[in-house]
């Protein structure tokens, strides 16, 4: 019988939540790496027991942990993230040039074909790749070197490369997103990159439709339709039907189009999920009601999903990597909050229940569907 494993990264350690295919009763294990910030964990699609974790600390720097047995045991692997060549500068908050400095790994994206190959999105923004199971890392420097890098600037959370999407139909195509530079695409496995931000409008930058400078919060794609992308920008839900060449707003009837997460149903490429957050000044749900919004039309038309979610006095946030879906026949949807709750829906969002309520602030949730 199939089962589900959730990999949950928090401000104070990692947790692994497991359930059978009914997804009603859950086993909670952890904390792993207690006291450390675990920005992200993700398993290999070709070997789900191979899991990578980003363990980081303001005191002790970056560690990458690897498990070969589904999270039962872990071992630190390589943590040298050296920018290629002379790192150069990006813009600092005050507009002055600031040297590129490695701070932490925000997102780990294992290869779709090889469990020893994994990509890492880091702060200050860059993309690294390992082909030896995380033992060593090399920068795909064409991203920083494509020309606009000196104009990138950090968002409030830092200048992070937080989203990596591998095209399942084209091994050379990778999408990434950076706060606050925007989205970028390579079609040659990372040698050259282009900004893909046409159609984005941001009133937080001087030229609202600039090529770079947009605060993209997250991007999602359905694996059966890799040319169609959905984006939660700082403000605005955006859609691209041409691999990012242009974008159109599909915020529609959402109560607010500010937010961080966005995800796509495992079997319905036009069914989307977002969690609206009041504003960039008020990082909690409108009216204290935690509502997931679902669109079954690829955007524009949204319905609130509230059954089982707190509909009063709720002032948590849901961060950009903290939503995931499983691929069981009845798609499961999961998200974690800064209040330490992890919510699950075993019926594509119609009904929700907390798996666990009192974890540290949740930074990331990744669902693994196990045979």
């Amino acid at each position: 019988m199939s089962s589900v494993r959730l990999l949950v990264g928090t401000h104070k350690g990692a947790f692994i939540l497991t359930s059978d295919g009914k997804r009603k009763d859950w086993k909670v294990e952890g904390p792993f790496f207690g006291g450390w910030e675990i920005y992200h964990l993700k398993g290999s699609p070709v070997d789900p027991n191979r899991i990578y974790a980003s363990q980081t600390s303001g005191w002790f720097g970056q560690t990458i942990q690897r498990s070969n047995d589904g999270g039962a045991t872990w071992a630190p692997v390589g943590n040298k993230f050296a920018y290629q060549g002379t790192p150069g500068t990006h813009q600092w908050y005050d507009g002055t040039p600031h040297p590129w400095e490695f701070k932490r790994v925000w997102h780990l994206e294992p290869s779709l074909a090889d469990p020893d190959t994994v990509f890492a999105g880091v702060e200050d923004a860059a993309l690294f790749k390992s082909t030896d199971g995380g033992a060593s890392w090399s920068e795909l420097a064409g991203l920083r070197g494509h020309g606009s890098g000196p104009h990138w600037m950090p968002g409030a959370g830092g200048m992070c490369l937080h989203t990596i999407i591998l095209d399942p139909q084209d091994p050379g195509r990778i999408y990434i997103a950076i706060s606050a530079a925007g989205a970028f695409r390579t079609d040659d496995a990372g040698q050259t990159w282009k900004p893909i931000n046409k159609g984005l409008k941001s009133n937080t930058i001087p030229a609202q439709e600039a090529e770079v400078g947009h605060c993209v919060h997250h991007v999602a794609m359905h694996r059966d339709r890799p040319g169609v992308l959905f984006m939660q920008k700082h403000w605005d839900i955006m859609r691209s039907d041409n691999a990012g060449e242009s974008w159109n707003e599909v915020s529609g009837n959402l109560p607010t189009d500010f937010g961080f997460v966005i995800d796509v149903h495992a079997h319905e490429p036009d069914t989307l999920y977002v969690v609206p957050i009041t504003s960039d000044s008020l990082h909690y749900p409108p009216e204290g009601k935690l509502r997931v919004y679902r669109s079954k039309t690829g955007g524009n038309e949204w319905e609130p999903l509230t059954k089982g979610l707190p509909q009063g006095d709720c002032y948590v946030n849901v961060l950009r990597d903290a939503m995931s879906v499983d691929s069981l026949d009845q798609c499961g949807v999961y998200f974690g909050t800064t209040g330490g709750q992890v919510y699950a829906s075993a019926d594509a969002g119609d009904n929700w229940a907390p798996i666990v309520r009192d974890l540290p602030a949740v930074l990331s949730v990744e669902a693994q569907t196990l045979a």
């Binding site: 790496f33 207690g34 006291g35 005191w59 002790f60 720097g61 970056q62 630190p76 943590n79 040298k80």
Partner: protein, 98 residues
Amino acid sequence: MIRVVLPYHLRNLAQVGSEVELELAGPATVRTVIDALEARYPMLQGAIRDHYTGQRRPFLRFFACEEDLSHDSPDAPLPEPVVQGREPLLIIGAIAGG
């Protein structure tokens, strides 16, 4: 024999107890002690000092014999009680954050 006391999180990372004992072939300095520590426990590389500059990470301190050695040259000889193993070299995580 040099005794080194690690902060809690680095003990867990290296999977060691509260104190590590190291044998040094040459002079005992902060640099040579950490070189030996990192050689035995590679997972500590980058966790105490920067991989590339060799600089102490900002929120860590080196104490010994009730003295703060953090701003001394990393090549300065360690105090004699540390060299003789009577006192440990303390690697301390700053009190900061929540």
